[in-house]
Point group: D2
């Protein structure tokens, strides 16, 4: 059957997701949704004008919620980075705008009969992912957020650069909120065939500094262009591909963890049904504390926004 | 050897080109150049944060003209669409800004020792492509513009939609200036195994209307988002790939035609050395006139800008 | 939904098809079927050992006809090239073996409930394609053969080499039986922006010789290795992708032509439902005669085999 | 610059490597070499007949050692599996044939002026890789063998199947000789975010059995079709891509380890210059013993073959 994906919110991130899906040949039918009709029509047309120079020919449909009924994946890239650029890069500045949007969008997804997997990019990621699950009524395993798949990529970039290896040759996870309380679980990071803790002396590594570099990366991008799109779009499309391929790949994403009672980022095995397996990490006491703190923060924000 | 590409001008189009090159695995070393340092650093970093979720690991270098010395291709995506969005979509509104930039950039390309192929996207495409050739001193075959590869794609889209076939199953060319004087050479268009003129009655086609639809497509995109990027970036990357692959593929691009004494779009065979073969079309008298008119227009604009 | 493909007959061609589908990331679930269980299990295992070094993770299932129920495409690569290598390269030498196999296989496809598109590679292609349609009872549009998509590729190779252009820059069709009676419809061939007839003098082309070169190519491959696989597997996978992508691409394939009352190769538009549009070429009288002769030959062979 | 690869030995493995390079768009110029001229010409032609249905157009050259001068990578797939199929699957049965071939081939590579990276698939892999280095005089870092990159893939397959995760989500290494003395270094295997030793009880894993399954996989393939090609070709092409992309990816390959004085498989970081970094694993005493034993075996075989 055709691979069908919906993208909701066609701003900087959503349009990049759409282009990557089309240019990579990852989709057979693409549904683009945005309340700014002129913008979404423009992006759809622009993508159609790419097709004669590509070896694929996906269908591209605009603003049709009904078409989501048999989609495999919906990627949410709702956002309003203007809120951020004016004052702050705290992702919670986007919460009022995005949560209001999700309250409008989620019921329409539900009404379409959609029964695939939602991959949320919209920030604050964990809270918005929770909202999507709650408001669509989809099983928790069918809703996830890109979460710290991006933060983990940032960590891998800095570790890779420090040790002159490809960032894809670094393994390990950032955990918790996709926001200021996320952290690198250094106990999980392996590179050059060693737990990174064993390499600190030999290669004069400063883990705190690496952590800071990873975080600064995000700020540098944000300050330089007012938004971030390539890293996070790549993460989201990877997740969509893993779902459609039913690959059972393990990745850190925002998923519902019962012991914390919230969505937060933690590695999980991902397949056709979304989250198909969850395991328990051997975290250090310090890492456990950080994660609990991150969970508490997400929980309080989620309650606030749902009670409004 | 590594495939090395420089992209000069990292705005909407240049960053899309860069992302497509990286996400498609089309490049081993990428040199990004822009006078807005914060922006180009941000895009480079954002792309690096995509790499841990990709199966490729290109090097990404920023603002280093020396690194262009052994590049295979330079893609110019200099532009200033703000000029356009305020008043008009006439590509010549960009000329003062872009030509001034090219006068700064081209000597630096020359000084780097670059001896590959320039693919110009910057508008007005034919004039700017001419400028690059003149100011870098590269042989004419090593400089080309995306030109009507995009307009041809627009024509293919509308013809394909009218006849319910993939736009890539439509062949034929738009010719002349990548601007208001370009036109579809309907005598070259073949679809459903027939010259399109033979299908007009059977399928109730209105060629003038199709032409208009193709042109309107560009305006709709421009009005909807203030710039166009996906179609033209796809065209430019296709050209870069054809050059690096030494594929000898025939495509309509802006290339120097001796009989007109200017760069304008006309099909040519493209390989490692850029334009490796030029042929003569059997155009109708009307098409010849249109092309001559388009050539005259480009010529006058080029002389104006070089004499400043 | 997942892209699911069955491949029946895992010899030289079938295993190449399977490997190309897996290595290209074109399939999410692959069903391999062969009566030589040791061989098909070996190929499936070998492909699974490729997956850790690939960015995709398709499921691979062996000898399960029930799994074909919801497949998008079945590619038939049944064959017995040993029959050929001993005496002759006439594809009809394979007919007794392959037709006997199809009589066993087609009812099992039917029993599975399969309702997708069959792409037949097995030779003699047009007769076997007809048999699949008849014996599965699928609508004619849902059954096609690779036919002269391969012969057209051979023609494009020789024309491209003669004119120093990429073979993908040559358009045109070989028509009729995928066998000794097929022919290049030179009236359809366009290259360097011209009908090839216009280039004969300028480039000293001998069309008969080009035709012969194309045919000799097949013999050279067959003599050199006892079978041909890469060209035809690429053709078959392209068709499968066009179907799954619902691309509406026009290609010459073996499809049922009412006016001839048989399957033979002729360009058609291909999408999700298989053959979605058929057009009429403007053939020369000589080409029409050749095609009629080819049709008559296929018809007589098909009747022979079905009456046995 | 163009990506140029030579493949020497166009049997089951070499032709699969060539097809994968062409179909994946991984090469711009491909040099195929085999002493069976009819076979290599047949494969080259078959690949050229694939090109009109592919979006790439590499050059394909046959039996031209001079063309290797500026190649980036040479993949050696010399072999004679008929020796194996008649009696045994011990890779050393191939040694007399393959070592004699390498003594003919390596001086021709040297004479061509080749200064890229050799990736050896030919078996017995570690001995043949050593021979290539010795006889070409290339620096040790520029010569490697696919070695246990394949055995590690086999281990990942069995572990992945046991735990229902993608084999690419399993990390860890098989070490030593690519032959009967290779072994899984279980201390390096991580899956589901845990060292595999921690999961043995929870998931009822029998590591010895998994090891046996991985080894049996190879035998099953060999018995079922008389050779193995897809897994090992994928490993070799991955290495070629990592080299051409200068990716600095860490992978287990046959590389020269000073402390053992031989080529054997051990993880290393691979880039443009071949082996660009070597690290030391924290192996258990038992693993160290196995590795020493494996090294001794390779050493004795290498000395035998070079002294002949």
């Amino acid at each position: 059957m055709s691979r069908k994906i919906g993208v909701i919110g066609i701003g900087h991130v959503g349009s990049t997701v759409a282009h990557y899906l089309v240019s990579g040949g990852f989709v057979d039918e693409l549904v683009l949704i945005d309340k700014n009709k002129a913008k979404v029509v423009a992006d759809a047309l622009d993508l159609k004008e790419a097709l004669p120079n590509l070896p694929y020919h996906p269908k591209i449909v605009v603003n049709d919620y009904d078409a989501l009924k048999d989609a495999d994946v919906i990627i949410s890239s709702l956002g309003n980075t203007r809120v951020l650029s004016s004052k702050t890069s705290d992702r919670f500045a986007e919460l009022p705008f995005v949560s209001a949007q999700v309250k409008l969008v989620a019921p329409k997804i539900k009404a379409s009969g959609f029964n695939g997997v939602i991959v949320d990019i919209s920030n604050p990621c964990d809270v918005i992912t929770s909202m999507y699950q709650k408001l669509t009524g989809l099983p928790k395993n069918q809703v996830m957020g890109t979460g710290t798949l991006l933060d983990s990529a940032r960590m891998k970039r800095t570790v890779g650069e420090a040790l002159h290896v490809a960032s894809s040759s670094v393994s390990g996870y950032n955990l918790g909120e996709h926001g200021n309380s996320q952290f690198t679980a250094w106990s999980t990071v392996v590179v050059l065939s060693h737990p990174i803790s064993e390499l600190v002396d030999k290669y004069h590594l400063d883990l705190d500094q690496l952590d800071q570099n990873a975080k600064n990366g995000g700020f540098t991008i944000f300050k330089g262009k007012g938004y971030t799109n390539y890293g996070v779009a790549t993460a989201a499309v990877r997740l969509a591909n893993v779902v459609m391929n039913d690959a059972n790949t393990e990745l850190p994403v925002s998923n519902y963890r019962k012991e914390y009672g919230v969505y937060l980022s933690y590695p999980a095995v991902i397949g056709k049904q979304g989250i198909v397996h969850q395991d328990q990490l051997n975290l250090s006491d310090d890492e456990k504390k950080k994660l609990q703190k991150s969970a508490n923060f997400i929980k309080s924000k989620f309650e606030q926004v749902m009670n409004k």
